[in-house]
């Protein structure tokens, strides 16, 4: 019974972190889109820039992925899969852990959830963005994509971060298609970053 409460409480937490996460989960980790996308219809920004030390300092935040000998459809399935792993990430309690004697009770779990709402709004957004970046690096890295840095001004044209305001589904889809076209395009002349 206690494990069921935990499962339900944590499922509720997952729903809070990503409204509609259960609804989206039916389509999560989709291998290929239901309708083929013509990459010629996908507009991508100019990725050229003159690298400065300030750019390099921020490559941990602003990067993109490319893999040689990869077609658009494969890249699109890959970015969709990795985005699924990296979206709807959990809020962080930041010191509002449920006291252990109550850890197994539904009331305790709910108290932890409600308390962490406020702390997450204050301090969870930055960590959620960082966790998203880490999950993308892990997923795309395992898929063999190289990671390359960008200035923020170019990065924002085809990427999004999920702090307190995730993008709309339409905006997300636009960005994912752009990322897929770039990921299956020309290999940059710059040095790849590590995973």
């Amino acid at each position: 019974m206690r494990s069921r409460y935990w499962a339900v409480a944590l499922a509720a937490m997952a729903a809070f972190a990503a409204p509609g996460a259960w609804a989206q989960e039916a389509a999560s980790l989709a291998v290929a889109p239901a309708v083929a996308i013509d990459p010629a219809t996908v507009e991508i920004p100019d990725l050229g820039f003159v690298e400065t030390p300030e750019h390099i300092e921020n490559y941990d935040k602003y990067f993109y992925f490319v893999r040689a000998d990869t077609d658009f459809a494969t890249a699109y399935a890959d970015v969709r899969e990795c985005d699924d792993y990296a979206r709807g990430l959990r809020f962080f309690n930041m010191g509002v852990d449920v006291p252990y004697p109550y850890a197994g009770t539904l009331a305790g779990a709910l108290g932890g959830i409600l308390g962490s709402v406020l702390s997450d709004a204050i301090s969870g957004s930055a960590q959620r963005r960082q966790l998203r970046r880490t999950n993308l690096r892990t997923c795309m890295g395992y898929k063999g994509y190289g990671r390359f840095g960008l200035p923020k001004a170019i990065w924002v044209k085809f990427n999004f971060s999920e702090g307190n305001s995730p993008p709309s589904e339409a905006d997300r889809e636009t960005c994912l298609r752009q990322q897929a076209k770039i990921a299956s395009g020309a290999m940059p002349q710059r040095r790849a970053l590590g995973r």
């Binding site: 499962a7 039916a26 709910l110």
Partner: protein, 282 residues
Amino acid sequence: MIARILVLLAAIAGLAAAPAGAQTLIRQYKPKEVVTLDPGTAYILYRSDEKVDIRFLRTPDEADWVDYRAQRAQALAKATRTYAAAMASYDRNQDYQQKRGQARPTKPVEPTDETLNFPSIELLNLFDVVGGRALTKEPEYTYLVAVRPGIYTLYGQIGLSGTGVCLCMGSVSFDAPAGVVTDIGEISLEGTAVVMAGVLYIPEPGMKQQVIPRNAATWLPPQVSGLTVQSAEFHAAPKMPNYFGLMIDRVQPIKGVISYQRDTIVDDRTGQPLPKQIVTAR
């Protein structure tokens, strides 16, 4: 922010009507408990280098699916009734608010099976082993649980502070049959997100997590001496959704069990990629 709170409150309200399933975790043993094997119950034993909560998913069997589909159908019927009432209210209020020059209300969305907000069956068939409730602490942390017989997958480590890891991109499954203790060896989950000085620390990606199968030299806790203990037979598991929004990773390769070609999961018994690479719900 307000919208997120409202969604949370709706989720909490939904807990009262949360679907029920057969209990997966029956008990977790404490140090001084006497362990006797029930012929209808499965038992899972493992060691861990740290006292962390570890989550296992149970593969639903046919009875679980029958039960789940019935509960899901009930939930959809209820949501449909709620929608009908909401539409009636919407139609009434629309005229009223238009006359008063107020903004039009948001039209309710008709629920369908695809959009129904209902837990995945996997979320109703999981259990957690509480890290603070070890069977032994010396010479190492061991854990023993009694569970429903079935096939289990190591999902990862979970904590309430956003800590832990989902082994979403590669893990192992094993059968836990009734009447015996299935020893899955050691679970080592290094390199996961942890809280340090009140700040969530997210490590660099690295595939540091391991499952180390039991061998002849593996220490057995005294509580299971005299009981039937058998080593788990591991199988490579397909990728899993990040249900709980955690840091993701995968277990290190295990010879004869699981290896990888890029992100493709390989059944290392045959050297072939798993035919089903990704778990899809329902």
